[in-house]
């Protein structure tokens, strides 16, 4: 099979990727993922199924032990960690400006724009410790967006937030995605969150992680709070939860 098998519009392609850590843990085995440009894809699986590892491999923060990794957005990506991961000694503006500073890019309007997008325009000079958990996560998202990345990688970004804040950030993230039309790969262990956000859900088996099945969520965007309470949403959630249950049972 020729390596140029990926069809046009593919931004990320992982083929038969395995990852074993030095201590012998096998996080991924025979993992395949293909993401098209502009898509919103979620990786869903139980804790420790290697979904974060897969995301770090896509980002180039970790190397696959085996397999083929292609990422045409390499160098043009943003990453949002599970924690806000802000520099506590720097104010919000300086935190958001970091990727530009590191690349020695002077883009005076970029920081303000990124903060405005996440609704924090008035907090440029606050310090991270003065903000709530949800606001810190917004800063983290603004920092990921400030370089106008082609690909946004999010590693369970809202897992530590309360439900009200999470729902709000879900809505804001969808609005941002619709506005910017960038590719998003979103890692989560929440069935409900993945259904609400994604066009396509990749359900993973427990460690060693591989793709159990993929489920498309063909509900139209924009999706709002009404979608969360619709029968259609409940149906998708049941379908995805069933798949996740089977994926977990198969390995156990």
């Amino acid at each position: 099979m020729p390596p140029t098998d990926t069809h046009a519009g593919t931004i990320v392609s992982l083929r038969n990727v395995s990852k074993a850590f030095e201590r012998g843990t096998v996080a991924l085995r025979g993992f395949d993922l293909e993401v098209r440009e502009g898509e919103f894809v979620s990786l869903l699986g139980p804790s420790g199924c290697g979904k974060s590892t897969a995301l770090r491999i896509v980002a180039g923060l970790s190397e696959a032990s085996q397999g083929n990794v292609e990422n045409s957005a390499a160098g043009k990506l943003g990453f949002v960690f599970q924690e806000p991961t802000l520099m506590p000694w720097a104010d919000v503006a300086a935190n958001v400006r970091l990727p530009l500073d590191l690349a020695r890019i002077g883009a005076p309007a970029a920081v303000g724009n990124a903060l405005a997008r996440v609704g924090l325009a008035d907090f440029a000079h606050a310090y991270p410790r003065e903000l709530s958990g949800g606001m810190r996560m917004r800063v983290s998202i603004a920092r990921a967006l400030v370089t106008e990345p082609q690909l946004l990688l999010m590693d369970e970004p809202f897992a530590a937030l309360d439900e009200i804040t999470r729902f709000k950030l879900n809505n804001d993230l969808l609005a941002l995605w619709q506005e910017m039309r960038r590719t998003v790969i979103f890692v989560t262990h929440s069935v409900f969150e993945s259904v609400y956000l994604s066009q396509r859900i990749v359900v993973m088996t427990p460690r060693p992680g591989r793709v159990f099945t993929e489920i498309a969520i063909p509900a139209p965007y924009p999706r709002h709070e009404e979608f969360r309470t619709s029968a259609e949403y409940a149906g998708f959630c049941r379908q995805v939860a069933d798949a996740l249950g089977k994926a977990t049972a198969e390995a156990a």
């Binding site: 770090r56 980002a59 180039g60 923060l61 160098g75 990506l77 990453f79 960690f81 924690e83 991961t85 520099m87 506590p88 000694w89 720097a90 970091l98 990727p99 500073d101 590191l102 690349a103 310090y127 991270p128 410790r129």
Partner: protein, 260 residues
């Protein structure tokens, strides 16, 4: 009464009480000044010998300051080097520990043989002061948030960017803790070396004055010099605490006072 007032008033009361008891004991028991001078005599000696003691204080403080600066800068530079080259850390860290655990009182006489006295005193001040800076800065540099490191890697930060924009600021609280300890220790190191050199008689620092006054049974002057040394130590502590507060007040948990 609020907490701030109590923090000043209560130790002040203790001071007044102790000085009063001291004075009463000396007066009532008619203790001769060559055994224990009263607080009034110590104070008048401090004023009478002011010029001499002040010059000696400056000598000791100058060496303390030099030793402290060398320790602070050297400790941090060495910690950065250790963090950067693990082989370097493995090679030299044990010897830094050995240097630290060997009592400086025991090293001072040897240093006084090999080095001219001011240099030997400086070396002692440095030896005791640099280790806490090194140890704390090493800890700080090694405890940088792994995700922040990953973020810097993601944006292809250079080594210098990682050092100056991430590692040094992240380690600042620990480095300042080390520096604060080093301030007091460099004074101790300088004093120990001066005392060790005492009988050689070449020095003119405050600790040398204490040793000299001891030989002459000038007990009031010993007390006056001791008082000055304590005051110097307290001043060093306050200056370094203020510096630490100034640098950390906006962001570090240790400097935030919470309302309850």
């Amino acid at each position: 009464m609020n907490e701030g007032a109590m923090r000043i008033l209560f130790p002040g009361l203790v001071l007044v009480l102790v000085v009063a008891i001291w004075h009463a004991a000396v007066a009532l028991l008619a203790i001769p000044p060559y055994v224990l001078p009263g607080p009034g005599l110590v104070l008048s000696t401090l004023i009478a010998d002011g010029g001499l003691l002040w010059r000696s204080l400056l000598v000791t403080l100058t060496i303390t300051f030099e030793g402290f600066m060398l320790a602070a800068v050297g400790g941090i530079v060495l910690a950065v080097a250790f963090n950067r080259w693990k082989a370097f850390e493995y090679s030299f860290y044990p010897y830094a520990v050995i240097l630290q655990v060997t009592p400086v009182v025991a090293i001072a006489p040897l240093l006084l043989i090999y080095l001219p006295q001011p240099l030997a005193v400086l070396a002692c001040a440095w030896i005791v002061a640099f280790f806490p800076v090194l140890a704390n800065a090493t800890l700080g540099l090694n405890s940088v948030d792994h995700n922040l490191l990953a973020l810097f890697e993601l944006y292809k930060a250079s080594r210098w960017q990682v050092l100056f924009r991430l590692k040094l600021p992240a380690a600042l609280p620990q480095m300042l803790a080390g520096v604060r300890i080093a301030g007091g220790l460099s004074l101790i190191g300088a004093v120990v070396a001066e005392i060790a050199a005492g009988s050689a008689g070449a020095g003119s620092g405050l600790a040398y004055r204490i040793a000299e006054s001891g030989y002459r049974l000038n007990i009031p002057r010993m007390f006056a010099a001791l008082l000055l040394l304590s005051a110097a130590g307290v001043a060093i502590f306050f200056v370094l605490s203020a510096l630490s507060h100034l640098l950390l007040r906006r962001w570090h948990e240790s400097e935030i006072t919470r309302e309850r």
